[in-house]
């Protein structure tokens, strides 16, 4: 029992760095480093030695905030090793959806397309739907106070390294896992329903080719202090690392901007896109000043629950909201 747990846990940790379907795959981290070095030497005219030191700035990598990132990563992986089997599997969703589709539509449509056309459609569809779902759930995490209580954990990072992407409260982790299962389950069911055994995913090293492209081009720099920005018209289509750093900024005018992961179009549609500001020095976090207990485990893991409970209690006390709840029934 304990042995299987340990082996599952260690293979989970291993997969996070050696599975090209994961953001923190060492290959992607290597790409991010190369891009950062190129950016600093070629555009910022730093000496290579200096650029290297900028990338591995000790004040960033060994800050209290970064240490908390590491601890959160380990604790969450432990938690998810236990939780994973209980989460709704995408195959269950896919099977259910498939049967629902066939009994609702009443027949299996026969659409004749070439294999490569179907694979291209599926790969693109999955990428776009997944990116939108990420955007939208992230948007809700900021919009709904109860969800914000948990998402704050991610935003409490004062310094950012690639590992900060996994600095999340487990409640948020569960929500994102469900989101992913739902998107994948629905997409698989829909495509298999339409194209039967022809469906395939175009991959590089096992990862969706578009996700691969996103990661190879420096996705890991989104959580870093290297403010790589794009040519401004491109930032209206793709979120640059600097744009995500703006999402983490403590400046009031940057609040609730740039929720997108890869595509910037969703933020444009929802009116919350903010282009990068190459001349502004950003500071990261929720508030301007750092509280002494910001990175304690109690603050990171338990405080969100306390806040959420308080919010729900308050909401129930307010007759107006209570009325709406009753009327909806």
């Amino acid at each position: 029992m304990f042995e299987t747990f340990i082996s599952e846990f260690s293979s989970d940790i291993y997969a996070n760095f050696f599975d090209p379907r994961k953001r923190l795959f060492i290959g992607y981290l290597g790409c991010a480093l190369l891009i950062a070095l190129a950016w600093l030497t070629l555009l910022k005219k730093q000496q290579i030695k200096h650029a290297w030191r900028t990338c591995f700035d000790k004040q960033v990598w060994f800050s209290k905030s970064s240490q908390a990132d590491g601890l959160i990563f380990i604790i969450n992986r432990l938690l998810f090793t236990v939780l994973a089997p209980a989460l709704l599997a995408k195959l269950t969703i896919a099977t259910f959806m498939f049967q629902w589709l066939q009994s609702t539509v009443g027949y299996r449509p026969l659409i004749l397309l070439e294999d490569w056309q179907i694979a291209a459609c599926f790969t693109l569809w999955l990428f776009i739907l997944d990116d939108f779902a990420r955007f939208y759930l992230h948007y809700l995490m900021h919009r709904w106070p109860v969800l914000w209580a948990f998402h704050k954990v991610h935003h409490s990072a004062r310094t950012m390294t690639p590992l900060t992407v996994l600095r999340t409260h487990p409640v948020e982790g569960v929500l994102f896992s469900l989101r992913s299962s739902l998107v994948q389950g629905i997409s698989i069911a829909l495509f298999v329903f339409l194209f039967a055994n022809q469906v395939d995913l175009i991959t590089v090293l096992g990862a969706n080719v578009l996700v691969f492209a996103f990661n190879v081009t420096g996705s890991n720099l989104r959580h870093s202090h290297i403010a790589i920005h794009y040519w401004q018209p491109l930032e209206r289509w793709l979120i640059s690392p600097a744009q995500h750093q703006i999402h983490h900024s403590t400046a009031t005018r940057h609040f609730d901007k740039n929720f997108g992961a890869t595509l910037a179009v969703w933020d444009r549609l929802f009116g919350c896109l903010h282009l990068s500001e190459p001349d502004t020095q950003l500071s990261f976090g929720i508030s301007k000043t750092e509280e002494p207990d910001e990175h304690t485990l109690k603050q990171l893991y338990l405080q969100p629950f306390a806040e959420a409970v308080l919010l729900v209690k308050n909401a129930l006390r307010k007759p107006r909201i209570f009325k709406i709840l009753i009327q909806r029934r």
Partner: protein
């Protein structure tokens, strides 16, 4: 009805049809009878008789010749009979599933592998693949399962154990070991039948959908219908066979019967629902071909779960799980 009674009833019905197929009910008696008899006779005799009560201490003892003058003991005979019903060549362990399958299909290049004693002929008793042995090879040739070798090896190990007793009665320990081999044979044999039913449920799914599409586009349906009925006969034959192994499948049997029914769903969405006192079929309204196709998916799921199948040939939802695997685990929150 008991197994033999069912077969008798089917044969009577078959006699009244043209070459064993009744287009009005969609019943292909040739398939139904051959696939069910394989269960009700071969499988039933082997697992519910020879590998069951005949292995008991007092029954066909090993300390005596099977009959006066035979060169083999009682237990040796019992064990050999069961092996004979399985239907693989005696030297099955020396060949892979593909070869065993090719032998049954009469493939020329499999001849050498089949002819174990090099006498230029295939001895139907010892060198041929047939019955469930053939379906074991059929399931295994995809490379995911190894029923043929597992079952054959248990038979051979068991036989060696009996021989090692040198014509003495088996000790309690030896008999227990022998029962162990019998259990391996029984559980895997049952899986072989379930795998065959699984495969044909997949065929019926595809046929039902093709048939409905043909009906809607006014295409020629005769051949499709015939194919659908043939596959259904095979599915039903194997599904019924699962219930002839002498153990009560309980809820699984009930669900299989409910999902598959007593006949395929016909073009007018009717199905046989019963037999009256004179032995005539009663048909009544049922589900659409599309809904019936969905039943087949449930049959596949049920068989896969209840019998822990691994070969899963013709899995109509295989692509769902393949793609799900391909996309990897969703439990890390890379949410930015």
């Amino acid at each position: 009805m008991t197994g033999p009674e069912v077969i008798e009833f089917m044969i009577k019905k078959a006699a009244a049809t043209n070459k064993g197929f009744d287009p009005l009910t969609g019943l292909d008696y040739t398939q139904l009878i051959s696939k069910f008899a394989m269960g009700a006779v071969f499988y039933n005799q082997a697992v519910d008789n020879y590998l069951d009560e005949k292995l008991e201490a007092g029954n066909k003892p090993n300390g005596k010749a099977y009959k006066e003058g035979t060169a083999y003991t009682g237990k040796e005979h019992v064990w050999d009979e069961a092996f004979g019903y399985f239907g693989v060549p005696a030297h099955a362990l020396t060949m892979d599933a593909k070869t065993a399958y090719a032998i049954a299909k009469g493939k020329k290049d499999a001849f050498k592998a089949a002819d174990a004693n090099n006498d230029g002929m295939i001895d139907l008793k010892t060198e041929m693949t047939f019955a469930h042995g053939y379906y074991a090879a059929n399931a295994d040739k995809g490379g995911k399962s190894d029923y043929m070798h597992t079952i054959t090896k248990a038979f051979i190990d068991g036989r060696e154990l009996i021989t090692s007793a040198n014509g003495e009665d088996l000790t309690a320990e030896q008999r227990e070991a022998l029962m162990g081999y019998a259990t391996v044979i029984k559980t895997n044999w049952e899986k072989v039948i379930a795998e065959a039913a699984f495969k044909y449920a997949g065929s019926v799914y595809k046929d039902a959908i093709a048939l409905q599409a043909a009906v809607e586009s006014n295409a020629d349906i005769e051949k499709l219908y015939r194919k659908y009925a043939k596959h259904w006969g095979e599915l039903k034959g194997f599904a019924m066979s699962l219930q002839t192994g002498g153990k009560d499948l309980g809820e699984t049997a009930v669900q299989l019967n409910r999902l598959i029914g007593f006949s395929p769903v016909l073009l007018g969405n009717t199905q046989i629902t019963g037999i009256d006192a004179e032995g005539n079929y009663q048909q009544s309204n049922s589900v659409s071909l599309n809904e019936y196709a969905l039943n087949m998916l449930k049959v596949q799921q049920l068989l896969k779960d209840k019998f822990s199948l691994v070969a899963n040939n013709n899995d109509q939802l295989a692509n769902l799980s393949d793609l799900a695997d391909k996309l990897g685990s969703a439990d890390s929150a890379e949410n930015d």
